[in-house]
C-alpha cells in the first residue's frame, strides 16, 4: 500500500516535471520573434536613452534636456504636437462616433458593407491617401475649383501646407482606428436594456444618453487613446500636408539627425516622446484590457 503511494507521488512529480519542460519548450517557439524585437528594437532604443544623456563634450550631462526646456522653439514643437493630436482625436470622436452608431443600428449585412468603406482606406497606402489630399486641397485643387465655380468663395483658399490640411489628412487616416473599437463596443450592447428603458418611459434621447452611451464608453476610450498615441508619433502626413509649417516632435527628431547629425538632441526628444506614449498607455492599461486597445477582440 505504502509502496504504491510512493510510486504515485514519484510519478506525479515526474509528470509535473515533464509538463514544465514541455511548456518551456513550447514557450521557446516564441524566441525568434522575441529575439528580433530585442535586437532591432529594445537594445537600440536603450542606446538612444544612453545617448540622450551624453553632452557635446562626450561626458554625462543633461544639456540635451536643458535645451529642450529652455529653448522656445522646442516647447512650441511640443505644444503643436499636443494640439494636433488632441484636435485630431476630438474630430475623430465627433465624426466617428455617430458613424459607428449608425452602423451599429443596421442589420449585420448592411453594417458589413459600411465596414468595408471604413476599412477600404486602411488597405490603401498612407502615402497615396496623403498624396490624394494634397492634390484635392491645393490652390488649383478640386475643392477650390468646385467651391469657386458654385460660388462658395471667390478666391482659392489655402488648405494645404498649414494646420487645416494636416488635420484633414490626419483625421482621414485615424478615423478607422476610432470607429472599429467603438463599433465593436456598440455591437455588444444588449438591445433589451434599451427596450427596458423605453418601456419604463424614457424618451429615445434619454435612453441613449443614460443607457447606450455609457455602455459604449469603453470602446470610445480605447479608440480615442489609440488615435491620440498614434498621432503623437506621426510623421508622414504632417510632413507632407503641413509643408514645414506644422512641426511635430517626430519631424524635429528626423531633422535633427538628417540636417544637423545631432544624435544627442534627437535622442532626448525621442526619449521624451516615448516616455509620454508609455505613460499614457500605462494609465490606460489600468482601465482597459490590452487586447481592447490593440483591437485584438475583433
Amino acid at each position: 500500500m505504502a509502496v504504491t503511494d510512493l510510486h504515485t507521488t514519484l510519478n506525479a512529480k515526474g509528470l509535473r516535471r515533464d509538463e514544465r519542460a514541455e511548456r518551456w519548450r513550447l514557450f521557446g517557439l516564441s524566441s525568434p520573434a522575441l529575439l528580433l524585437v530585442l535586437i532591432i528594437l529594445v537594445i537600440p532604443v536603450g542606446w538612444l536613452f544612453y545617448v540622450s544623456f551624453i553632452g557635446a563634450d562626450g561626458n554625462f550631462s543633461l544639456e540635451n534636456y536643458e535645451r529642450m526646456i529652455k529653448r522656445k522653439s522646442y516647447s512650441r514643437i511640443f505644444i503643436t504636437t499636443f494640439q494636433v493630436s488632441l484636435l485630431t482625436t476630438g474630430l475623430c470622436i465627433l465624426i466617428g462616433y455617430p458613424l459607428a452608431y449608425f452602423m451599429s443600428q443596421l442589420p449585420t449585412r448592411w453594417a458589413n458593407l459600411c465596414l468595408v468603406t471604413v476599412l477600404l482606406p486602411f488597405w490603401t497606402s498612407l502615402l497615396v491617401r496623403t498624396y490624394a489630399w494634397l492634390v484635392l486641397l491645393q490652390k488649383q485643387g478640386l475643392v477650390n475649383q468646385w467651391a469657386i465655380s458654385i460660388g462658395l468663395w471667390d478666391e482659392p483658399l489655402k488648405f494645404v501646407h498649414n494646420m487645416t490640411g494636416t488635420l484633414i489628412g490626419m483625421v482621414h487616416i485615424m478615423l478607422p482606428f476610432l470607429i472599429l473599437p467603438v463599433y465593436g463596443a456598440m455591437r455588444s450592447i444588449d438591445g433589451d436594456y434599451l427596450k427596458a428603458a423605453s418601456n419604463l418611459g424614457a424618451s429615445p434621447r434619454r435612453a441613449f444618453w443614460t443607457v447606450f452611451f455609457p455602455l459604449s464608453t469603453p470602446g470610445l476610450f480605447a479608440g480615442s487613446l489609440m488615435v491620440f498615441v498614434l498621432c503623437l508619433g506621426f510623421f508622414v502626413t504632417p510632413a507632407v500636408l503641413g509643408g514645414g509649417r506644422v512641426i511635430m516632435v517626430s519631424m524635429k527628431i528626423v531633422s535633427n539627425i538628417e540636417l544637423f547629425v545631432n544624435w544627442g538632441a534627437a535622442s532626448a526628444l525621442g526619449v521624451v516622446l516615448l516616455v509620454m506614449t508609455v505613460f499614457i498607455l500605462w494609465i490606460a492599461s489600468r482601465f482597459l484590457k490590452l487586447e481592447q486597445m490593440t483591437g485584438g477582440g475583433h
Binding site: 528580433l36 524585437v37 449608425f102 498624396y131 494634397l134
Partner: protein, 272 residues
C-alpha cells in the same frame, strides 16, 4: 416614404424621420472616406503636366514615365522583394510565437505578449533611428536584409494579434486528440490546427506584405544606396513637388492591394 419616416427605427422607438440627419451625415462621411483616394485614379490618366479632374486629354504618359524610369523600377523591385521576404519571414515567426504564447501556460506569457506588440506602440521614428544605429553596427545598412528585418519587426505584432485571436476561438482539444492517437506535436499542429486557423494566417501574410510595402519612415533611414524603396522615393518626390507620376504609381498600388484583399478573402472562405 412618409410611413417609413414615421416608423420606429430602434428599440427606443425613435423614428427614421428623427434620424434622417444621422443617415445623411453617415453617408457624407463614408463618401469622404472613400472618394479622395479614388479621385487619384482618373487623374493619373491625364496628359497634362498638372493634375486635372476630369482630365482634358487622356493618355498613359505618366505610366510610360514610371515604367520607363530605371530609378522608379529599381525602387519598385526593392519594395516588392522586401515585402515578399518580410511576409515569408514574419508570418512563420509570428504564428510560431502566437502558438507558443497560447499553448504554454507559463506566467511569462503576458510579458512576452507585451514585448511582442511593443513595435506597434513605440513611435516609428524611434524604431527608425534605432534601427539605423543597429545597422551601422551590424553593417547591414542599405541592404535588403536590413529592410526585411526592420519590416518584420513591424509585422510581428500584427501577426501575433491576428493569429492569437484565431487561436483563442480554436479548441485545442482537437490537437490533443491527434496527439493521443500518436501524432507528434508538430504534425498535430500542421495537419489539425493550421488548416483551421488558415484565414488568420493568410490575413497575417497580407498584413505583413502591406506593412512592409507601405512603410515610409524606417525606409527613409535604412534604405538607400542601391536599395531605395518605392515609398522612400515617393515621399521625397512629394516633399518637392506634385508629380503626376505619383498618381500613376498610386493607382497601381491601389489596384495591387485591392487584388490582394480579394484573393485573401476568396482563399479564406470555404469551411469557416
Amino acid at each position: 416614404m412618409l410611413n417609413w419616416l414615421k416608423s420606429p427605427a430602434s428599440e427606443t422607438q425613435v423614428t427614421h424621420g428623427q434620424r434622417l440627419w444621422l443617415y445623411a451625415f453617415s453617408g457624407i462621411i463614408m463618401v469622404l472616406l472613400v472618394l479622395p483616394t479614388l479621385v487619384v485614379i482618373p487623374m493619373s490618366f491625364s496628359d497634362s503636366q498638372y493634375l486635372e479632374f476630369p482630365p482634358e486629354t487622356w493618355s498613359l504618359r505618366w505610366y510610360r514615365h514610371y515604367f520607363g524610369s530605371d530609378e522608379w523600377m529599381l525602387a519598385t523591385l526593392t519594395s516588392v522583394k522586401t515585402a515578399v521576404l518580410t511576409m515569408l519571414v514574419a508570418t512563420p515567426i509570428g504564428v510560431l510565437a502566437a502558438y507558443a504564447l497560447h499553448a504554454s501556460k507559463l506566467p511569462y506569457v503576458r510579458a512576452a505578449f507585451v514585448l511582442l506588440i511593443t513595435p506597434m506602440m513605440v513611435p516609428v521614428v524611434l524604431i527608425a533611428i534605432g534601427a539605423f544605429y543597429a545597422y551601422v553596427k551590424l553593417q547591414i545598412l542599405y541592404t535588403i536584409t536590413g529592410l526585411v528585418l526592420a519590416h518584420t519587426l513591424l509585422a510581428i505584432p500584427l501577426v501575433v494579434i491576428v493569429t492569437g485571436s484565431a487561436l483563442k476561438g480554436y479548441d485545442m482539444n482537437q490537437e490533443n486528440a491527434a496527439r493521443s492517437l500518436g501524432a507528434p506535436r508538430w504534425k498535430a499542429f500542421v495537419t489539425i490546427t493550421l488548416p483551421q486557423i488558415r484565414f488568420a494566417v493568410v490575413t497575417s501574410m497580407v498584413l505583413s506584405f502591406l506593412a512592409s510595402f507601405d512603410e515610409v519612415v524606417i525606409a527613409m533611414f535604412i534604405s538607400g544606396g542601391d536599395n531605395p524603396t518605392l515609398t522612400r522615393n515617393m515621399f521625397n518626390a512629394l516633399r518637392d513637388q506634385i508629380d503626376p507620376t505619383i498618381a500613376a504609381i498610386s493607382t497601381i498600388m491601389i489596384l495591387v492591394t485591392t487584388l490582394m484583399m480579394i484573393l485573401a478573402s476568396l482563399f479564406g472562405r470555404g469551411k469557416s
